[in-house]
């Protein structure tokens, strides 16, 4: 008999959900996490620490950058947050010559759910039909209606603050009260609507509690305090992380065992039963190798983490990687492209300011190619942004010194508004990861070799993004608007997806409509690796909905004796 009913690999955004669902349904659940344990509160070492408490006043020092050349590229990396970023030294990977990829990772219980910016936008029917519509990639095996109830389900538990807008391309969800647009954002919104009624400026939808439910309070979670220092961890449990929400929910059932410091190396396949029997692991602290067995395995190690394990799980049946008769494993890797948009000044309104640090911004949902491709590129993009009055960090740049100079900085700077695009990336077979033939990580596991680049469609889209960001801000009443379109590196969107895509045909996809391997029925992949296209919305809420849906399916199958 197997040791467990289910093994979940990874304890981040998706693994936490799998753990909660299986444990709450009474299954004996094992969560394997390669990183260290993280306890809510106690391990939030950066929380509540003022700038002057840090040796380098909460910056990223040259030494930190030298030690972590990849992680330090992330905007959120600094003294107070670095403990939730992986150490580059422990997580080496290789990239194809002539390409670059910045692999931003978490390496602890909670994964990157501790670090995320909490933006949570549903996909729409358009997104699930996009591949079919324009022929890039294979058709999704599910439609919006299949996932909608699961969005409802996860959103109610997660707690998403947002406003209902009735937009078909960005379906409304189960929201807690929205955060507030500030005075200038409202002005800009109203002015844009005059010129571009289809460009809607709305408040960001963010995984923050603004009106906690009984269920959330019972888990020790409380309302957002508007500190905007979330990536240090939040003892209020006000933003969603697996550490604050799903893992405690799983733990209180007493059906879950979570084993940290345990890296899964491979999935063990039994050709006689055509099923996986378990996983082989290495303890990163002791080097001990162990095999755990289970009836069902859920892969939630993050897109590339899961792919590394699957590519490493070769056998006579699957010589090129686990459940890979389609040859799609490791292919069709996507990210979102960003670092393109515009910024400008908003004149006047100098008697207006804000109090509190809103930990989220504004959103302009996709407005391009909604019905058909009327642009010279496929798919679309959304904008994130906000209006702000900068403080000393910017006002110090004025001339002068002395009391007048100091006093001038008591005044906040004038209003500034910015929009940053997040664009969809097409699925392309040659954008792929493989295992490096010789290089290994410190634990002896073959390194990923990453060969992914943005293409012509992304390049064309970016020109449009810069252009529309500028004209949108100008329509909103901004002056001195400057568009930007900076070089961007794949991976820095931190929305890497694909590699084990869902699809209808076992010959062209790895997973079926239930995130279940076509080739091996008791192995599921529910993290970003399962994505068939990338849409332009931040993807984590979709991973969560897919995970809860797949867990429900698996449990039903197990109860019926089919799994």
């Amino acid at each position: 008999m197997a040791d467990f009913d289910v093994i979940i690999v990874g304890s981040g955004m998706s693994g936490g959900w799998a753990a909660k669902e299986f444990a709450e349904k009474g299954l004996k659940t094992l969560v394997l996490e390669r990183g260290r344990d993280v306890e809510k509160g106690a391990d939030y070492v950066g929380e509540n620490t003022a700038p002057w408490d840090w040796p380098a006043r909460d910056t990223s020092t040259a030494q930190m950058k030298a030690d972590n050349p990849v992680q330090s590229q992330c905007y959120a990396f600094r003294e107070s947050t670095q403990n939730f970023f992986a150490k580059d030294r422990d997580n080496p990977y290789s990239v194809e010559e002539g390409t670059s990829f910045s692999f931003i990772r978490g390496d602890q219980v909670g994964g990157r759910s501790l670090l995320w910016a909490r933006q949570s936008y549903r996909w729409s029917e358009m997104d699930f039909q996009s591949n079919k519509r324009d022929g890039h990639g294979v058709d999704w095996p599910i439609r919006y209606k299949d996932l909608a109830p699961w969005y409802d389900y996860v959103e109610e538990f997660v707690g998403i603050s947002g406003s209902k807008e009735g937009l078909p391309q960005l379906p409304d969800g189960k929201f807690q009260p929205p955060m507030e647009l500030n005075a200038v954002e409202k002005k800009v919104r109203d002015a844009i609507a005059q010129t571009y009624p289809d460009r809607r400026l709305i408040i960001g939808r963010a995984a923050h509690l603004t009106e906690p439910t009984e269920q959330q309070l019972a888990l020790g979670r409380g309302s957002c305090q508007f500190r905007n220092q979330c990536q240090r961890g939040c003892s209020f449990g006000a933003y969603f992380s697996s550490v604050a929400a799903t893992l405690p929910a799983a733990k209180r059932t007493n059906n879950m065992q979570l084993v940290p410091d345990t890296q899964v190396e491979r999935i063990v396949y039994d050709p006689a039963t055509k099923r996986a029997t378990g996983v082989e692991t290495i303890n990163r602290k002791t080097g001990t190798r162990e095999t755990y067995t289970a009836r069902v395995i859920f892969m939630c190690a993050s897109t590339l983490g899961t792919l590394q394990i699957m590519l490493n799980s070769t056998s006579e049946t699957f010589p090129t990687g686990f459940a890979n008769t389609s040859d799609a494993l490791g292919r069709y890797i996507m990210d979102h492209h960003h670092r393109v948009g515009a910024r400008g000044k908003y004149p006047g309104m100098l008697d207006k300011y804000f109090s509190g640090r809103r930990p989220s911004g504004i959103y302009v949902p996709r407005f391009r190619n909604l019905e058909s491709d009327e642009q010279d590129f496929s798919r679309g993009y959304g904008f994130q942004g906000g209006a702000n009055r900068p403080s000393w960090q910017s006002t110090c740049q004025q001339d002068g010194f002395g009391a007048d100079y100091k006093n001038a900085m008591r005044e906040p700077g004038g209003w500034e508004v910015y929009l940053q695009g997040f664009g969809e990336m097409l699925p392309v077979a040659d954008n792929r990861v493989t295992l490096h033939p010789t290089k290994t990580d410190p634990y002896g596991m073959a390194q990923l070799h990453i060969n992914v680049r943005f293409g012509e469609n992304e390049r064309k889209m970016r020109l449009d993004m810069a252009q529309t960001a500028k004209e949108t801000l100008e329509a909103g009443g901004c002056i001195d608007v400057e568009a930007y379109n900076r070089d961007t590196i794949v991976g820095l969107g931190i929305h890497e997806m694909g590699g084990a895509r869902m699809g209808r045909d076992p010959l062209t996809s790895v997973l079926n409509a239930h995130n279940q391997c076509h080739d091996v029925e008791n192995v599921f992949v529910t993290d970003g690796a399962s994505m068939t296209s990338s849409a332009c919305q931040n993807p984590s809420i979709t991973y969560m909905a897919l995970t809860a849906r797949a867990a429900d399916y698996a449990v039903t199958q197990m109860q019926q004796g089919k799994l």
Binding site: D37, E39, G41, N48, A62, T81, F226, D399, G400
Partner: protein
């Protein structure tokens, strides 16, 4: 997994978690490899510290709130230059500082520190206009050291745990710019 801490952390608990300042150095673009701030380096920098302190206080003087000296800015700059600068950067910093005395000599003063206050002010005004590198570097370090110090919580508005967001606040009710902006 370990036991969870208190289920409902209060605002007061969170504030209690704040620690006192330990001083230290900040990162500026110039910084490179971290090296230990040895007593020798402290010694090496000591002839320059009086000038650095004096100019710091001229950039951000005591008003009805603490100035650069009370905020510990010189110690911050000493740690910055002594701990985070490379040997070459440190040499360039020391050499760069000679511009103050050179300009004082041109105004027939023995040194910058010995010059009358109006002469010092004239020199700083000229430096500020010229945009010379050492001045920019020093001004930036003074500003950063000051506004990341605890003293700056008196100068600007500081609220570690706002508890809410008001997007339509009147500036007159808040009075001054916020000290911190979050991530």
């Amino acid at each position: 997994m370990k036991q969870q801490k208190s289920a409902h952390p209060s605002r007061r608990d969170a504030i209690k978690g704040l620690f006192l300042a330990t001083g230290g150095a900040a990162s500026l673009p110039l910084m490179s490899a971290l090296s230990a701030c040895t007593p020798e380096i402290k010694q090496e920098l000591s002839p320059y510290m009086e000038l650095v302190s004096h100019v710091s206080e001229m950039i951000l003087p005591q008003t009805d709130t603490p100035g650069a000296l009370a905020a510990g800015v010189p110690a911050y700059i000493e740690a910055l230059v002594g701990t985070h600068y490379t040997q070459d950067e440190r040499e360039a910093f020391k050499t760069g500082l000679s511009v103050f005395d050179e300009m004082a000599h041109a105004k027939s003063a023995k040194s910058f520190l010995a010059a009358p206050h109006e002469v010092q002010t004239t020199i700083l005004t000229a430096l500020d206009q010229s945009g010379v590198a050492i001045w920019q570097q020093l001004k930036q370090a003074v500003v950063f050291g000051y506004y990341t110090s605890e003293a700056a919580t008196e100068e600007l508005r500081y609220d570690p745990i706002p508890g809410g967001y008001d997007g339509d606040a009147d500036l007159s009710d808040i009075g001054r710019a916020w000290l911190t902006t979050g991530i």
